[in-house]
């Protein structure tokens, strides 16, 4: 039983990271109907930005409190990722907005390759390890909960509430939802659609960068290929939860995290990705719009 709960805790942590990345996929899909395949690499880039901040802090300002260091890593990561994602949208996606659906998809894949190669060339192809930032582990009824797990879950929860608030309660979020439903009409009501879309990319990137920082802190290592597998899993999470739905993305992320850790715990770890994607396939066969997705109903 304790073992099971332990795995639940691990899965929840991993799932929080996936969920944060998945939100970027789902929001961009919601607002312009395209999959931003470069999003996983934005996540990796956020991790690298955090790594650089960490190295700068430790070499020039020894003895910086951990909380402050983490905060700085997150903020710089968010800014860097937001800037990149904004630029990508501006130069690679916006000019293609009127063209056929596959065009932005292909550029997105291209941007993903550009980003990972850029990091490979500028940062080197090897794994980049950092010493553990927070190492305390608490023992709660025989279950080991590390401080970093708590930090990840708490930060995820806070960010998701802020996000939920922005999307549901602010003029910006209203404009995003309106743009999602009818871009032309939103423009006619005075919403600057281009800016709203840019902001969506910025918000998604900021969350991905936080996820990147958490990932770096959790595993203590980041490498230029890290955008791919977590990116694909987060995308899977978004589809599983129902693409276009914010709570769906989080739910999907948590589910994938749980499936992964429970599968690794009770079956063979080599097949954890097989299990994850099989479950995705099964869910989509029976519920094509995902768990919380709105089925597309056409009124005639």
């Amino acid at each position: 039983m304790e073992y099971f709960i332990q795995q639940l805790v691990n899965g929840l942590t991993l799932g929080s990271i996936y969920g944060m990345i998945a939100i970027g996929y789902t929001m961009v899909y919601g607002i312009i109907g395209m999959i931003n395949f470069a999003h996983g690499d934005i996540f990796m880039l956020g991790g690298f930005a955090a790594l650089i901040v960490f190295l700068v802090l430790t070499s020039f300002l020894a003895g910086v409190p951990v909380v402050l260091a983490l905060l700085l890593m997150m903020i710089v990561g968010m800014l860097a990722a937001a800037l990149w994602n904004w630029t990508i949208e501006r130069v690679a996606y916006r000019p293609l907005r009127g063209s056929f659906r596959l065009a932005p998809l292909i550029t997105a894949i291209g941007m993903s390759i550009v980003l990972s190669n850029f990091i490979q060339v500028t940062q080197g192809p090897r794994n980049k390890p950092i010493p553990p930032l927070v190492s305390s582990v608490y023992n709660v009824f025989g279950i080991a909960i590390s401080l970093k797990q708590i930090v990840i879950v708490v930060i995820t929860a806070i960010l998701l509430s802020v996000f939920w608030y922005i999307v549901n309660r602010t003029p910006l979020g209203r404009a995003q939802r309106a743009t999602e439903q009818d871009r032309k009409m939103a423009a006619l009501l005075g919403v600057d659609v281009d800016r709203t879309i840019s902001v969506t990319f910025i918000m998604g990137a900021a969350l991905a960068a936080v996820a990147g920082t958490m990932y770096l802190m959790y595993y203590g290592v980041v490498v230029f290929t890290d955008g791919f597998v977590p990116g694909v899993k987060a995308f899977t999470a978004a589809v599983l939860g129902g693409i276009g739905s914010l709570p769906g993305a989080v739910l999907g992320g948590l589910l994938i995290g749980l499936i992964e850790s429970l599968w690794s715990a009770y079956f063979t770890i080599d097949y954890k990705d097989v299990a994850t994607f099989s479950i995705l396939a099964i869910v989509l066969i029976f519920k094509p719009s995902g768990i919380l997705g709105r089925p597309e109903v056409e009124k005639v």
Partner: protein, 294 residues
């Protein structure tokens, strides 16, 4: 037409030599008209005459092939609408429009639909969301004002009790009124309505007439409308422009247009010798309707 000459003219919208070509099709050919400030101007014509195309040019949906569209605001500021991107037409030129097929944000609530229309004001007050998240008083004030404006228009459109329902759940007639209320929330000086009475039953049509007249009376907003329902056109418009095959065939007050043989021939598709008959018929219909709505 004769009535107009005595008044000093203050057109809010001036369309000059407008032409719109789609490939080989000349949808609008050298079309000019003026809409007076504070009046309800109706644009009528048979199907395919190009009415919606004119609207699309005025509201920035299409870039016209030729011609000039000048919008003059109360403040005296002038805008050349054919040069503005679409969101600026609402934002700066203060022209709002509705559609023939209703375009509601059906997943947003009725109230949210009205708040989206006040997006720019709120966005500025909330300091592009950042200050708003921190709860600055200016943002709260702006939110309160927007809510009040939205509630005012909900009441005008008699939708107050449906405020929190998804807009897509409203019946057709209510969606029409909501669409007009939403357009009014952008604070327009010119409201363009594309067939507001299409598909409405007589009672909904009556409610619509009242709403439009209230808009003109209370806010002084000028209205430009496309309409098929002649009872609506004749009852509420001050000025009627008739379009056929992309060209203007008549222009004047409803009385004048109604008896213009060219209009009758074009609009009702009859030969010249049958015109008298048709006029009689129209008058008959009108007197019947006069009985329904006193």
């Amino acid at each position: 037409m004769a009535l107009k000459t005595t008044m000093t003219k203050d057109p809010i919208l001036k369309v000059e030599h407008l032409s719109m070509r789609f490939g080989g099709l000349m949808a609008i050919n050298d079309f000019s008209f003026e809409a007076e400030r504070g009046e309800i101007t109706a644009l009528i014509g048979p199907n395919g005459a190009g009415k919606t195309t004119v609207f699309n040019c005025v509201t920035g949906f299409y870039k016209p092939t030729m011609g000039m569209i000048t919008m003059k605001q109360r403040s005296g500021k002038e805008f050349l609408l054919e040069r503005l991107p679409d969101f600026e037409i609402t934002k700066h030129a203060k022209v709002a429009r509705t559609f023939q097929n209703i375009r509601m944000f059906s997943g947003l609530t009725v109230l949210e639909n009205l708040l989206v229309a006040q997006h720019n004001k709120l966005m500025q007050a909330s300091g592009y969301t950042i200050l708003g998240l921190l709860g600055f008083p200016a943002y709260r004030q702006a939110t309160k004002e927007s809510l009040e404006l939205a509630k005012h228009w909900l009441e005008m459109a008699s939708l107050t009790d449906r405020a929190d329902d998804p807009a897509g759940d409203l019946p057709y007639g209510a969606q029409r009124r909501l669409e007009i209320a939403r357009a009014m929330c952008t604070g327009p000086e010119l409201l363009c309505l594309d067939e507001p009475a299409a598909g409405l039953n007589p009672r909904e049509s009556l409610a619509l007439n009242e709403l439009l007249q209230a808009i003109r009376r209370d806010t002084g907003t000028s209205i430009l409308l496309i309409e098929h329902d002649m009872s609506v056109v004749m009852e509420i418009s001050d000025h009627v422009v008739v379009l056929e095959y992309g060209q203007k065939i008549s222009d004047g007050n409803p009385e004048f247009v109604k008896h213009d043989p060219k209009v009758i021939a074009a609009y009702l598709g009859v030969e010249d010798e049958e015109v008298e008959e048709v006029i009689e018929e129209i008058e008959e219909i009108e007197s019947e309707q006069g009985g329904i709505n006193p």
